[in-house]
Symmetry: C2
Subunit: 203 residues, 2 copies
């Protein structure tokens, strides 16, 4: 398969691209670096990306970020940034990729464990992690038979915790998280699912 | 208790206001009509509302709408409208009410069954119904000990289905849905929960 990994130079995205590279043709997409460039906050850049990359069989979105701050410090701008990057970014990827992807292909979006297991400071992130789960399930229903749609919910990643100077032992290595994305891409029966990456590894 | 019901003239909101009126002082808020006016899409109007209404013990938000259209017909404007009305509306209510509400009070937001049980055409609605569930859980964690925060997830409401010219037998009467909101307001042990209105009635 030809698989486009957006955020393919990030911590999770590069692990996903590495995991898929053995058996698939992988195109790594990032704002800078990577094989092709795009920004999920820009529907125009995504349109151009998918038109250029077609034909392709799968898209994985590991991109998007939000503001991590206590509730009483989150500004209107923090919410707007989080909505347009992480949340509408996933929506943009799906809407634009669906026009160009091969029949029988798959689109995999990313939410995050904070959607259902919050921590202090995660108000905006929990909001924009939960949204794509609802959207992905709905989009899967409408696209059923043409394209599969799943959402992977990663836990805290060890490499990210280390980079933040935190104890990495509470996290999951990116290479393990990547298995959930590989499952979404390769399991032709899977659609409309929110895949908890921890459940895939322990299964 | 003094309870502010936003969307208090709508199908669900008026049933909630009616159910609470027997034992509480209820202020019905709507864009037009009602006892006081506000629009959840406007943080400024909410700030003014809560400053004027204080002191109060509970806020229930039954307001907010989104665009219901097939995925390939949803425009950028449809998504923007849905995000700023239904989704950021709930966020706005919480952020502004939290500044003025009495200690030990409660804030109840609204999501909807389409967050987890989509139907064709619900892409934008499923997105903006899921978001408040993640946000509500996170906000509850930060406000624990000061204010309780819950999110009620109503199913399709009979009266709404009838008004849309659809078979109302698949819906739940608004007066039954209201019980979930009453539980959120009155049960002092309940916080950080997404309350499925169907489960409250059948419990």
């Amino acid at each position: 398969m030809k698989v486009i990994v957006i955020g393919g130079t990030g911590v999770i995205g590069s692990a996903v691209a590495d995991a898929l590279s053995g058996t698939h043709e992988v195109i790594r997409v990032a704002r800078k670096g990577g094989d092709l460039h795009a920004d999920i906050a820009s529907k125009d850049l995504l349109e151009r990306l998918f038109a250029e990359a077609a034909p392709f069989d799968a898209v994985v979105s590991c991109a998007g970020s939000g503001a991590f701050k206590p509730l009483d410090q989150l500004t209107d701008e923090d919410f707007a940034y989080s909505l347009f990057d992480k949340l509408m970014g996933q929506v943009n990827v799906l809407r634009t990729a669906a026009k160009h992807i091969s029949n029988g292909g798959s689109i995999t979006l990313t939410s995050g464990v904070l959607a259902s297991e919050p921590m202090p400071g995660s108000g905006a992130i929990s909001l924009v992690n939960a949204g794509p789960e609802g959207f992905g399930r709905a989009a899967a229903l409408e696209l059923r038979g043409r394209v599969r749609v799943n959402v992977v919910s990663p836990p805290w990643v060890s490499e990210t915790l280390s980079a933040m100077g935190m104890d990495h032992s509470g996290g999951m290595p990116a290479a393990e998280v990547a298995k959930a994305y590989v499952k979404s891409v390769e399991d032709g029966s899977l659609t409309g699912q929110v895949i908890d990456a921890r459940a895939v590894v322990s299964a």
